[in-house]
């Protein structure tokens, strides 16, 4: 009588398995940190936002009038305190923005400060919180405050004339040399970090923990503590790094190019492109380290097959933070048919491809294990039903079923990525379930199960504490193989035009761009990543199986 074989607690230590594990971790890391690696928004920006200051000052008089109106009941409808608070908040936002862009010692800054204080005192004045008609004294103070805003707007307007001249000068001067006139100063911001969602923060912080758990084996208590700490940190960072007023993260590069944001210093991500940043003048440009990708100033190809065809060529606009026109690292993997950087799309595409694959595997393992356990212990109708469903599902070519179901589900309000993951799981859980069922049947009559049953434990406890742990090892192995299969299925679905919808990138969707033979270079990057993911998942599965067989033989 051998010891019951428990699920492998530690990863296999062979060379191939280590390689596979590290590759898989690297792929997941590139997907998790894609927003930091490829992003159109700068990581750090020290700049003067001319456009935002101008629009803030232009909005001040109107906003002040609105705020004034929120105090007076209109046609016997009492003024709502919430309307007043909103009007005040939008005024204060503009004032804060102006204050950030001004030298604190200047006269204009003092002016802004005075106005902000006037708003604050009026908001807390006795009688201001009520909704009946105001007393004349408060009314007069309100009028004065509104006039103050008009004066402030005019003063800002006058001071901005000098800043606009500085903008023109900065456009011709080198980067980093920005000569702003007296009251203005640059302000710092972190546009990339501010644009990240809670989910992105959470995964970025969680990943090191997950990698540590995967490499060292689960250490339950430490891991769960770290898990809690990291989710707290993610929440704090998301709340604390909301976009500061006036720094719009979208199209920041365009605003810099147009001279609306004057940059003193900007640090961009290594790949300074967003995944949906189009640039039609560079459509289907080959990888820029190839000689055939060289362009002249008019956007015409210098050599290669496309050199002659200059009909549609137009000059390429090199935006802020991007490598120069013919730099070898401008588009390391080329650009697709809309001129989007393939490397940026592949990095972001990994989030979709791997996310869908991991979600599908989790779902199919859960479904397969539960169904397999239940079918394994029950003898009657449930087992027959299970066999019927499994037999039916296994009769369909899985890719066929996935394609049709993925085409059908989004019309019923299911998110396309979730639909893909769900369908992959729903189509391929039967294999895991059959394995678990067979294993449960093999284990069910063993001595320790009989002993557990004889000692009066409940059937559920016998199933989950004594049978399940011994039946799950094959499920784990097939889960590793299912990961490879899910990556392949997702990429095939997206490649055929179902699955993710543009402009969302996934590895298969990027491969769809390489429709013509002369653009075959697009195949390389995404193809390599799909291959790496599938190969490492399969290698992991092989290693796990070998290890389990060894354990069973021992």
């Amino acid at each position: 009588m051998t010891e019951p074989t428990h699920t492998a607690r530690r990863w296999p230590r062979t060379w191939g398995a280590r390689c596979a594990l590290w590759t898989l971790l690297a792929l997941v890391a590139s997907a998790v940190y894609a927003p930091f690696l490829a992003n159109g928004a700068p990581l750090y920006l020290r700049a003067f936002d001319l456009r935002a200051v101008r629009s803030a000052s232009a909005a001040l008089p109107a906003l002040a009038e609105e705020w004034r109106a929120s105090f007076a009941p209109v046609a016997s409808i009492p003024a709502e305190p919430i309307v007043r608070a909103a009007a005040r908040a939008s005024l204060e936002l503009r004032l804060e923005l102006l204050a950030r862009s001004l030298d604190p010692r200047s006269e204009l800054a003092a002016h802004v400060e005075r106005t902000a204080q006037a708003v604050d005192t009026l908001a807390h004045a006795p009688g201001a919180a009520q909704s009946q008609p105001l007393d004349p004294e408060l009314n007069a103070r309100l009028d004065a405050a509104v006039r103050e805003f008009d004066a402030l707007a005019q003063a800002v307007e006058a001071a901005l004339v000098g800043a606009a001249a500085a903008a023109n000068a900065a456009n011709t001067a080198e980067a980093g040399v920005l000569d702003l006139p007296a009251p203005w100063r640059t302000s710092e911001s972190w546009p990339l970090l501010a644009s990240l969602s809670f989910g992105s923060w959470w995964f970025a912080l969680l990943f090191p923990l997950a990698a540590w758990v995967a490499l060292c084996g689960m250490r339950t208590r430490a891991a769960s503590l770290a898990f809690a700490a990291l989710s707290l940190a993610a929440i704090a960072l998301t709340l604390g790094l909301r976009a500061p007023p006036g720094v719009a993260t979208r199209n920041l590069k365009l605003a810099i190019g147009a001279g609306e944001v004057l940059v003193e210093r900007a640090v961009f991500a290594p790949v300074p492109y967003g995944f949906e940043e189009t640039r039609l003048s560079e459509a289907l440009r080959p990888p820029t380290w190839l000689p055939s990708a060289e362009l002249d100033a008019q956007g015409r190809y210098v050599r290669g097959a496309r050199a002659g065809a200059a009909g549609a060529a137009r000059p390429v606009e090199v935006r802020a933070g991007e490598p120069s026109l013919n730099s070898w690292r401008r588009h390391l993997l080329g650009a697709d048919s809309l001129g989007r950087d393939v490397l940026a799309r592949v990095l972001w595409g990994g989030r979709v491809s791997l996310g869908v694959a991991f979600a599908a595997v989790l779902a199919l393992l859960a479904l397969g294990i539960v169904a397999g356990l239940l079918a394994g212990v029950s003898r009657g109708a449930f087992d027959a039903l299970f066999l019927f469903v499994a037999q039916t599902l296994q009769s369909f070519p899985s890719l066929f079923l996935i394609l049709v179901a993925v085409a059908a589900l989004p019309a019923h309000g299911v998110h396309p990525q979730a639909a893909t993951a769900l369908v992959i799981a729903a189509v391929s859980w039967t294999g895991v379930a059959r394995l678990v069922r067979a294993q449960v049947r093999a284990v069910r009559e063993r001595e320790w199960v009989l002993a557990a049953r004889a000692s009066g434990l409940s059937p559920a406890r016998v199933l989950f504490a004594h049978i399940a742990p011994n039946a799950l090892a094959p499920a784990l192995v097939s889960g590793a193989f299912a990961l490879g299969g899910a990556v392949l299925a997702e990429s095939a679905t997206s490649f055929l035009g179902f699955g993710v919808q543009p402009p969302v990138p996934s590895w298969g969707a990027v491969l769809r761009e390489s429709s013509a033979v002369e653009h075959a270079w697009i195949l390389l990057g995404p193809g390599l990543l799909v291959f790496a993911a599938v190969a490492s998942a399969n290698a992991l599965g092989d290693a796990l199986r070998e290890r389990l067989e060894l354990r069973e033989a021992a």
Partner: protein, 350 residues
């Protein structure tokens, strides 16, 4: 044996029922219905549609009927539409229809095209190609697996192992496109990459016509076969390795049998008969693979027909292709079970 076969056939019935149920369910989940497609799609001007014809079409195709009625109509052999069998309140003009009557319906946008006839034409391409693919997969995969097991540890076996591992992890569509770019007109120009026949192929000259077809079939077959071949070879290898360690092999060696006789009389039969079931499983991969390969190489086969049907919202076509491939697969499973029972007397069919 005959009784066992009959029993196994009877077990096929619920599976067939499940297949039609799932196909029917998928058909109903797909967005848009036949009437909307037939009368100009979603973008059509509602005023221009002949309302009477629209309603007549809906009634004839039971689009407003309860689902069970639609399913019975779909399944056959009775036609439940207003012109259908008198048992179900029809006029009796057209009593039979549905799957059991062998009726797959007509395409909506080209009403003169019967789906069954079109599918038969498509299958004339897909079936021979699938058989060729299966022959290649097992004809190469099994001997390769045996070779890898016997020569384990040698440089050759390691290189082949790495190659198979690579092939197994490559997406079919990627391989198809890579072969197309590498060997087709844009690359080395060795082989044709689009369609099944050259533009000037002449059917009246059988030899050159056959050669032309063969040249066109090489790349699609290679793209389709490579991953499955790798899988089968790897399975065969591990199966042979397992049997090589068995006691009866030790015993055969101890009796002084030659290594060759041990291998071919004792190891290979025991290792490969369990893999007959793999042949049954290969069928769904092949059919699924054809969707991708036929789309990339623009072969007018069943996979391409299904893909086009899905793109054009011809759901009758999609349903017919899904159903047919599921039936073929179920049949493949049955045949491989029977074959295994026939080859290996230890397997019981119950």
């Amino acid at each position: 044996m005959a009784r066992a076969v009959l029993r196994r056939l009877a077990l096929l019935l619920p599976t067939l029922l499940g297949i039609t149920l799932l196909t029917f369910a998928l058909l109903h989940l797909l967005p848009g219905d036949g009437a909307a497609l037939r009368f100009g799609g979603e973008g059509a001007d509602p005023g221009a549609v002949d309302a009477a014809a629209f309603e007549r079409f809906r009634a004839e195709h039971l689009l407003d009927a309860p689902l069970w009625r639609q399913y019975l109509d779909y399944l056959g052999p009775f036609d439940l539409s207003p012109r259908g069998h008198t048992w179900f309140g029809g006029s009796g003009e057209q009593p039979w229809g549905g799957l059991l009557a062998g009726d797959l319906g007509h395409e909506l946008l080209r009403p003169s095209v019967g789906i069954a006839g079109e599918l038969a034409q498509r299958l004339a391409i897909t079936v021979p190609m699938s058989l060729a693919a299966a022959a290649l997969i097992f004809g190469i995969g099994w001997p390769l697996g045996v070779l890898l097991a016997v020569r384990r540890g040698s440089a050759l076996a390691r290189a082949l192992d790495a190659l198979l591992f690579t092939l197994y992890a490559l997406p079919t569509f990627w391989l198809a496109m890579a072969l197309q770019s590498l060997l087709g007109g844009g690359g080395l120009g060795w082989l044709p990459v689009v369609g099944l026949h050259g533009r000037d192929a002449d059917p009246s000259q059988p030899l050159s016509y056959a050669l032309d077809t063969l040249a066109h079939a090489v790349l699609p077959l290679a793209a389709l076969v490579a991953p499955s071949l790798a899988y089968v070879a790897r399975q065969a290898r591990s199966s042979v390795l397992e049997v090589l360690d068995a006691d009866f092999v030790l015993c055969a060696r101890a009796r002084g049998l030659s290594e060759r006789r041990v291998l071919w009389r004792h190891v290979v039969p025991n290792a490969l008969t369990p893999l007959v079931t793999l042949a049954g499983q290969t069928l769904p991969w092949l059919v699924g693979g054809w969707v991708v390969v036929e789309t990339v190489f623009e072969l007018p086969g069943m996979g391409k027909y299904a893909y086009d049907g899905l793109m054009r919202r011809e759901y009758g076509v999609v349903a017919a292709c899904v159903l047919l491939s599921a039936l073929l697969t179920a049949l493949g499973h049955l045949l491989s079970d029977l074959a295994q029972a026939w080859i290996d007397p230890r397997v019981r069919l119950d």
